[in-house]
Symmetry: C2
Subunit: 274 residues, 2 copies
């Protein structure tokens, strides 16, 4: 239980201050933060809050979107923020096809998937030295293939490791997120291959049927179709000993009382993950 981390968007109604307070009250030792909420609370204020609470910052979400135009300045700022917060990693969601805007009808965009993947590699090459200087670990997050066009052209763990391999593991790691990867017939072998590159283990369930907005198909562990045991075991056997973050985007969870959500999260974590 001491490795459990609350990703702040699991209790989306809470501000950073409220989420930090919630972690303390519920005995959760780590928190995953989101940049826009940190900005609202104030970066300095957030640093003070998490330090006063004695919380670890298991991740900062998120940098990336490397397929867009001029992605470096904002990613450097994200690295700076992660350094200030002492976050274990900065999660990178690499971006979809250039010009595709999530949730909006297609406008002018590029269908060049291979080219978009090349841009991700180039963007990473430009960002990694800066992250290394600041002592921030970048964490490449492969997203479920249903988000390939609009959110991340990085679709499998194997592809993420390929992308990370030119860099030292402490500079570029990978995120293992059960929702995104559970279906992959190669996933257990790729988790073993990732080894010390695993920068974050994020857990939540895959709902079936999916809701109308597929972004909100993440469910509380036990409410969906994922068999967590083999994934937990593979991540442990790969040597990962860091925080395990529960990150749920879900209309019902967001509508519920956050204290109830955290109580359920702890129970499900104890039953299915720990």
């Amino acid at each position: 239980m001491n490795r459990l981390s609350l990703n702040q968007w699991t209790t989306k109604r809470w501000t950073v201050a409220e989420a930090v307070d919630g972690c303390v009250r519920h005995g959760v030792g780590a928190i995953g933060l989101w940049r826009q909420d940190v900005a609202e609370q104030g970066l300095d204020e957030t640093v003070k809050l998490v330090q006063a609470a004695g919380l670890r910052v298991s991740s900062l979400c998120r940098g990336g979107f490397l397929t867009g135009s001029d992605p470096l300045p904002d990613n450097r700022r994200a690295v700076d923020e992660a350094a200030e917060l002492g976050a274990s990693c900065l999660v990178l969601v690499v971006g979809g096809l250039p010009g595709v805007v999530p949730g909006e009808p297609l406008g002018a965009f590029s269908r060049d998937l291979a080219g978009a993947r090349d841009r991700v590699a180039e963007g990473l090459a430009a960002l990694a030295p800066y992250a290394a200087e600041q002592g921030v670990r970048l964490a490449l997050e492969p997203l479920h293939p249903m988000y390939c066009a609009d959110r991340a052209v990085l679709s499998t763990l194997g592809q993420a490791i390929d992308l990370a391999e030119p860099y030292p593991p402490e500079v570029v790691g990978v995120v293992v997120d059960t929702f995104h990867l559970w279906w992959d017939p190669a996933v257990l072998g790729q988790i073993a291959r990732a080894g010390e590159r695993i920068a974050s283990y994020q857990v939540c369930d895959f709902l079936c049927p999916l809701p109308a907005d597929v972004l909100l198909g993440r469910g509380m562990m036990g409410d969906g179709v994922i068999d967590f045991a083999p994934l937990n075991r593979a991540v442990a056997e790969a040597g990962y000993t860091g925080d395990i973050e529960v990150e749920i985007f879900n209309a019902d969870v967001w509508a519920a009382d956050p204290d109830t959500v955290v109580t359920t999260m702890k129970a499900r974590y104890a039953e299915l993950i720990a």
Copy 2:
């Protein structure tokens, strides 16, 4: 243009007789049929219709669902029907997690994904000899990973080839469907690896954003995010010279006048596929 095939569900409002007539009127030389529609028309009647029209039957959809209970009897009937129709292949959609019903809330079901995949291999081993006897080629269709839980635990082309490899290519082939596979970073190499195992090339686009029912996210070529050229080229270079079937599940396409749909299909096929 002489390799273009109309999958019957692209013009879902048409009966088999109407679709056969539509192919003839529009100069489309092949048709992909669905078992339930063939049953409605009558199997013998359908055989007469396609023969009289001089159409090739590029595929029969579908057998499979090998993760369910007692799948063999119905799959043997599907093989018989494919033989009667002289179909180039019987498409197998292998089924999801045992007990998960597409479109329905989760009831009693199994989360054992690895076990479900084993059941598919066992079901195929039981079915393949019968198909070989009847001279019917089975075609394993990997489905997009978003359907892994409820429709097909077969999620990548590489996995489909692994499953097919114990059998002669003329007994067990694979389906290359652009909608299901476009995102896969390994797809071009796996198409080359598939070679003479490619039993069917199905084309349609991947819509973005996805509609509320993700099953209906298949769009007319050019209306979505897929770059068809590299996939067309890979399939050609792999040696596939068979029919190219347009299969679209889409509420707007289904609501449109079928003759208009076929006209658009021919134009888009000429522009993006041929």
